[in-house]
């Protein structure tokens, strides 16, 4: 696709090439044989009649255009396009006449005229005069004319050289006709750029021509032009494909420079920031046009396809320093060598690459054959050194581990690589010897190609999971649990935030308890008074005693604190004051905690509906938590209510550890540990009901939707005062997401969280509290304690029921299946299981066509507990 991208470079239309009188190097002409076209140019250029015609024509247009060219020239600095009217008049679309130069490269790209040339300065005219001259001369002239302008322009960012217009040039509309893709097997063929004739003196910069032997230079990967520190950025621009002249972008790199891919000079490092360098180098290594063109590599007479090349480079023991050329490959033993040459390496055997090996592949003349290949002299010496009798022109069969036998004999005569002398002889004859013991270790494989593969793999296999759910649906716990589970550390900031949050929450819990205490105190008083009325016999002194004895009353000091805290809570400023005030109030908390009235309240905490369940966990350690030096442990983090990191979105990258036991997992394949997952948690409520933000996640692979199982009896009042069931709200959000156009083809995994709480709740509150679950009427088991598969508990039935409800909803919308998994956020195992299930779903998707039939069956265990 690279050739189709317009780049700041001149382009001429191929069909108009024959009109060209200037020998111009064509930068972007996608064709099978650019060299050929280039030579045609030259020929045309030197044919005097043609160029005469052209010159004449030019003269006339030049007059016509005298007016136009003026306004083109005057407009400096802007992104104006110097296209004269003549172009438009001239045959519409075929006019690609464009004068211009991207000022960054001074070597060859002055003009790409097609039918008309306009805006010619004197120097261009001069060039034109030389139109019939050999290429080098023209280039030379140009350079000499360029020099003066460039020198002044060097420091200036917006180039204004002489009277030339800095013109932003563009790929002409019509050039895509030329840029049609050619090539075998649909593979994209990137054109080879001819190396520019090197007429620059040694040590001089190709652009400014200043000589500085000792000044470092950066070399273009394609044409080999060298630039000094001043000209580099202008010559290479933003380097979208790494270090290439702007004109060279889109061209294959010079194979001899492949080794330097990704290794930039110190000069570049001086010039740009590390960040930018990193990006440029990564694009240099990864960009498609810089990859080794597979069809230039022949293995056993077969040009490789992309898949074969990848296979070859990703095997444990890949060929080193792979360059375009012809190779032979012995599939059985792993011998690898240049065609007509002795083996140079032993690579991984049994790769499905190339045709079968020819007998004369290594051009041997010894009449001895190994795996159908006639071996070379050095190999024969090696065999002899190994003590193998080679009389009678035997045919050997050598396998990868070195065991050899005569062809057609099922008898292993010995192991070649086990013989001590072989190693010495191999080194002496520069024959390959398998690395490591069993030819499996590829550590020393060419770093360069290895990097490419692993990086490519990385980018390809980043799977994105979107974790979303309404308020308090458990997304946060799942996210935090996953972080702990897959060893993604919490950053210092996050820990600090969590600490503050826990402390703030603690005060709010205390506040709730204190509020409860006030109520209990009053209740107690009322109760006492009633008792006193009921028992009028008791004396008034007694009554006073009762007041004093009230176990819920606290000391005035604590009372002051209590009313202050409650006041803050009423005004909703708790977040503003704590945790800043933590230091001041920590001792008070301690005192309060020891107070028996407070403890008495604490024992009755079940009656305080406002108090969240997790409060227990923290209140027990109130004294510890309120200290300044408190550091939350992992459990604390898990239990903490609220959002860990930034308001709306949090994300983490992780990969599944291999060691864990998977229930329904097939043997983990080799690349598995490379597969990275990104879990993105979105807090739906803070992002608005219109789901505008969903568009941002259009590229996720799996949507994990969280629903809290205990939401069925929770109601909340929205802004307009309408009371809504949270389960129904959750259902609505789910529908919104599923019906979002960007998510039409996405897979969904429904996580039903808080199963442990459901088990408690369902005993007291019937599921039918929610309108959606009206028809839940399970057959109640007679023996509830008999909790096995045949006789699931009420909570399990409820879970199945809710799962089915959601599945039906999903199917009615999309016609596909919804995956469901139960989760108890606080249990690491269940989160692990759910996320691994998510991974399974993604894998299924990959080969869904292969066994789409089976998937329905494997659906069943999906809802199992």
């Amino acid at each position: 696709m690279f050739g189709g991208i317009p780049i700041a470079a001149m382009v001429a239309r191929a069909s108009t090439l024959n009109k060209l009188s200037l020998p111009v190097i064509q930068p972007i002409v996608r064709s099978g044989n650019p060299e050929k076209k280039f030579s045609i140019d030259l020929k045309v250029g030197s044919e005097s009649p043609v160029s005469e015609v052209h010159l004449g024509k030019f003269g006339s247009t030049c007059e016509d255009l005298s007016g136009n060219s003026d306004d083109g020239v005057d407009k400096e600095g802007a992104i104006g396009l110097a296209i004269g009217e003549s172009n438009i008049l001239d045959r519409g679309s075929s006019s690609s006449g464009e004068l211009g130069f991207s000022d960054g490269h001074g070597d060859s790209n002055h003009l790409s005229g097609s039918s008309e040339v306009e805006d010619l300065d004197d120097e261009y005219k001069e060039d034109l005069g030389f139109g019939n001259c050999p290429n080098a001369t023209v280039l030379d002239t140009k350079k000499s004319t360029m020099r003066s302008g460039d020198l002044e322009g060097c420091a200036d960012e917006a180039p204004r050289q002489g009277n030339r217009v800095p013109v932003v040039t563009f790929l002409d509309c019509t050039s895509s006709d030329v840029a049609s893709e050619e090539g075998d097997d649909g593979a994209v063929v990137f054109p080879d750029r001819p190396v520019v004739a090197d007429d620059t003196k040694k040590g001089a910069c190709y652009r400014c021509h200043k000589r500085n032997r000792f000044g470092e230079k950066e070399v273009c990967l394609v044409c080999g032009a060298k630039y000094c520190i001043k000209c580099l950025l202008r010559a290479m621009g933003s380097m979208p494909e790494g270090r290439k002249c702007i004109t060279c972008i889109g061209y294959r790199i010079d194979e001899s420079k492949r080794g330097t891919l990704g290794k930039c000079s110190r000069m570049l490092k001086k010039l740009l920031t590390d960040d930018v360098i990193k990006q440029i180098m990564s694009s240099e290594i990864l960009c498609e046009v810089n990859q080794l063109p597979p069809n230039l590599i022949c293995v056993n007479d077969k040009p490789l396809s992309i898949e074969e090349l990848v296979l070859l480079q990703s095997c444990p023991n890949p060929p080193k320093k792979l360059k375009p050329g012809k190779y032979w490959y012995d599939k059985v033993s792993g011998f690898w060598g240049k065609e007509g040459d002795k083996p140079c390496q032993i690579i991984s055997p049994q790769l499905a690459v190339g045709y079968t090996i020819r007998q004369d592949a290594s051009n041997g003349n010894t009449n001895v054959q190994i795996n159908n290949r006639e071996i070379t002299k050095p190999e024969l010496w090696m065999l002899q050194a190994a003590g193998i009798h080679c009389e009678g022109n035997p045919h050997f069969w050598v396998t990868a581990d070195g065991s050899y036998q005569h062809e057609g004999m099922n008898y292993v005569m010995g192991k070649l690589w086990d013989k001590k002398r072989v190693k010495i002889v191999c080194t002496a004859l520069s024959l390959p010897f398998p690395s490591g013991t069993a030819n499996t270790i590829g550590e020393e494989a060419d770093n360069n190609t290895d990097n490419i593969n692993s990086k490519n793999l990385d980018q390809k296999t980043m799977n994105k999971l979107l974790l979303v759910g309404s308020d308090h649906s458990g997304t946060c716990t799942v996210f935090k649990q996953a972080k702990i589970l897959y060893n993604v550390p919490f950053s210092e900031d996050e820990r600090q935030n969590i600490k503050f949050m826990i402390q703030r929450n603690l005060y709010s819990y205390i506040g709730i308890l204190l509020e409860g205490r006030e109520r209990f105190e009053e209740d107690y008083l009322v109760e006492m008074r009633r008792q006193r009325i009921d028992q009028p016999s008791s004396s008034s002194a007694n009554a006073n005693q009762v007041d004093e004895k009230n176990i819920y009353s606290i000391s005035p000091r604590l009372k002051a604190f209590s009313s202050w805290l409650l006041q803050i809570m009423m005004s909703g400023n708790l977040g503003a004051i704590f945790p800043a005030a933590t230091r001041e109030y920590a001792p008070l908390v301690e005192e309060l905690w020891r107070d028996k009235a407070f403890q008495a309240t604490y024992t009755r905490r079940d009656e305080l509906l406002m108090l969240p369940r997790v409060a227990d966990y923290f209140l027990n350690r109130a004294v510890e938590i309120s200290r300044m030096d408190y550091e939350p442990c992992e459990m604390d983090i898990l239990y903490a209510e609220g959002i860990t990191s930034s308001n709306g979105v949090a994300s983490m990258e992780f990969s599944f550890s291999n060691s864990s036991r998977d229930g329904y997992m097939e043997p983990v394949d080799q690349n598995n540990h490379l597969v990275r997952y990104q879990l993105i948690r979105v807090h739906a409520d803070s992002l608005g009901e219109n789901c505008k933000w969903l568009e941002m996640f259009e590229d996720v692979d799996l949507v994990v939707y969280c629903v809290s199982l205990i939401d069925y009896d929770v109601f909340y009042e929205d802004n307009s005062g309408v009371c809504t069931n949270k389960m129904l709200a959750s259902k609505k959000l789910f529908t919104n997401i599923v019906t979002h156009p960007n998510f039409a083809e996405k897979d969904f995994l429904l996580i039903l969280s808080k199963f442990d709480l459901l088990e408690e709740k369902i005993e007291h509150v019937p599921l039918t509290q929610c309108d959606w679950f009206q028809d839940f009427n399970p057959v109640i088991s007679l023996y509830p304690q008999n909790n096995n598969r045949n006789n699931p508990s009420l909570a399990q039935r409820a879970f199945y029921y809710i799962a089915v409800k959601y599945k039906r909803l999903f199917t009615s919308i999309t016609g596909r299946k919804l995956f469901v998994s139960p989760v108890t956020g606080l249990e690491a195992d269940s989160v692990d299981k759910a996320l691994k299930y998510g991974r399974e779903i993604l894998r299924w998707e990959e080969d869904i066509h292969a066994f789409s039939m089976n998937s329905t069956e494997s659906m069943e265990p999906s809802t199992s507990l």
């Binding site: 991208i5 700041a8 992104i79 590390d274 990006q279 608005g688 219109n690 505008k692």
Partner: protein, 377 residues
């Protein structure tokens, strides 16, 4: 007064408002004798024509690895900041297509970015509900990242759009998913005014876009999911100056007309509209019927420097160039052969009007320049 009674009165009041609104609509229809296109035709205007070289892509800015979501030009016309899903802001020199800064963001889900009038700093906002300001001149840290100069936090929803107040580097307006717009004082990092919100007559759904009047920088207009656009006076935060009804879907994009008396909107109902801020009338609807029932929503709009052209990007990848006078689609940038491979998500005209920059989900930005006999329209 009991709650039930209050609710009843609220219902009645809502009813009255709706009736009045309907009446207003009727009245407007009566008053509106013609639209821009009709008048222009009667004056014998002809639509702008585009030759193949009149608007051409002259640069492709490659460097992002994720979908480009937003872009902005500096007033001094040759620099662009772009925001992408790869979690980076890139500052480009549009003339040389070089990257001058690549800023890694703390939150990758960025929706908007803006250049300050002086070109010294850039602002961005996204799903983290924070508008972050980066000073381009500040020192990079150890990892080569530019540190956040100022975090403007206070929104309770995603930041959908931000724009600096013209000629003031210290003030910025943001719009957010929490149904409000906010004027910020960057030097203090505090909110100067909040437009809309719970107790005010603001938008009733996510605000998606804002545009500040170029000729009177105290006025700005906002577009929202409640399918209205509202005009605000920065000095009067309590209520909107005017509410513009008409769209039948989310107003995804608003942009002031260069003369400052009109503004354009792009909506999920597939239309662009032109409103007059003085009369409140809708002047023109720009809609291109498609063969099928599929109506692609408008994502982003931009006016040419004279206002004669309206560029509108659609979700299906089209990018129409409308002649605003005759309401005629004169060019489809999306179908040009060297155009983007994916939908065009953001559009911006350089300050002198000589170039258009488009950002796309294909991770590239392209610069289009007017060529031929006209340089600027």
């Amino acid at each position: 007064m009991s709650v039930a009674e209050l609710k009843e009165r609220h219902m009645a009041a809502t009813e009255t408002v709706n009736v009045l609104r309907d009446k207003l609509k009727q009245k407007r229809l009566l008053l509106l004798d013609t639209d821009v296109a009709g008048y222009a035709r009667s004056q014998g205007k002809t639509p702008v024509t585009f030759g193949p070289t009149d608007l051409v892509c002259c640069r492709t800015l490659q460097g992002h690895t994720g979908k480009v979501y937003s872009l902005d030009w500096t007033p001094e016309r040759n620099r662009i900041v772009s925001a992408s899903q790869d979690g980076r802001l890139i500052v480009w020199n549009a003339l040389t297509s070089q990257k001058t800064h690549a800023i890694k963001l703390p939150c990758a889900w960025v929706m908007t970015c803006a250049f300050s009038p002086s070109g010294q700093s850039v602002a961005c906002g996204g799903l983290d509900s924070v508008c972050s300001i980066f000073n381009l001149n500040s020192q990079t840290d150890r990892d080569g990242n530019l540190p956040v100069t100022r975090m403007l936090s206070g929104h309770k929803g995603y930041v959908s759009s931000c724009q600096y107040v013209p000629d003031e580097d210290s003030h910025l307006v943001t719009s957010s998913g929490d149904q409000t717009c906010v004027l910020w004082d960057i030097t203090t990092g505090l909110r100067t005014s909040v437009f809309g919100g719970e107790f005010q007559s603001g938008h009733t759904a996510d605000v998606l876009s804002i545009s500040i009047n170029g000729s009177n920088s105290r006025m700005f207009v906002s577009g929202s999911c409640d399918s209205t656009a509202r005009l605000w006076d920065m000095r009067v935060a309590s209520r909107a100056v005017r509410t513009f009804h008409g769209h039948e879907g989310d107003v995804n994009s608003v942009k002031f007309f260069p003369d400052g008396n009109r503004f354009g909107t792009g909506s999920a109902d597939g239309t662009c509209r032109l409103f007059d801020i003085r009369t409140g009338h809708q002047l023109q609807v720009y809609y291109q019927p498609h063969g099928d029932n599929d109506v692609p929503p408008v994502i982003s709009i931009a006016f040419s420097i004279s206002g004669r052209l309206l560029f509108a990007g659609y979700t299906n990848g089209d990018c129409y160039v409308w002649d605003t006078l005759l309401a005629k689609m004169v060019l489809n940038l999306g179908s040009l052969h060297n155009s983007h491979d994916a939908r065009i998500s953001c559009l911006g005209l350089s300050a002198d009007g000589s170039a258009l920059c488009t950002g796309s989900w294909d991770t590239n930005l392209k610069i289009w320049a007017f060529g031929g006999h006209r340089r600027v329209i």
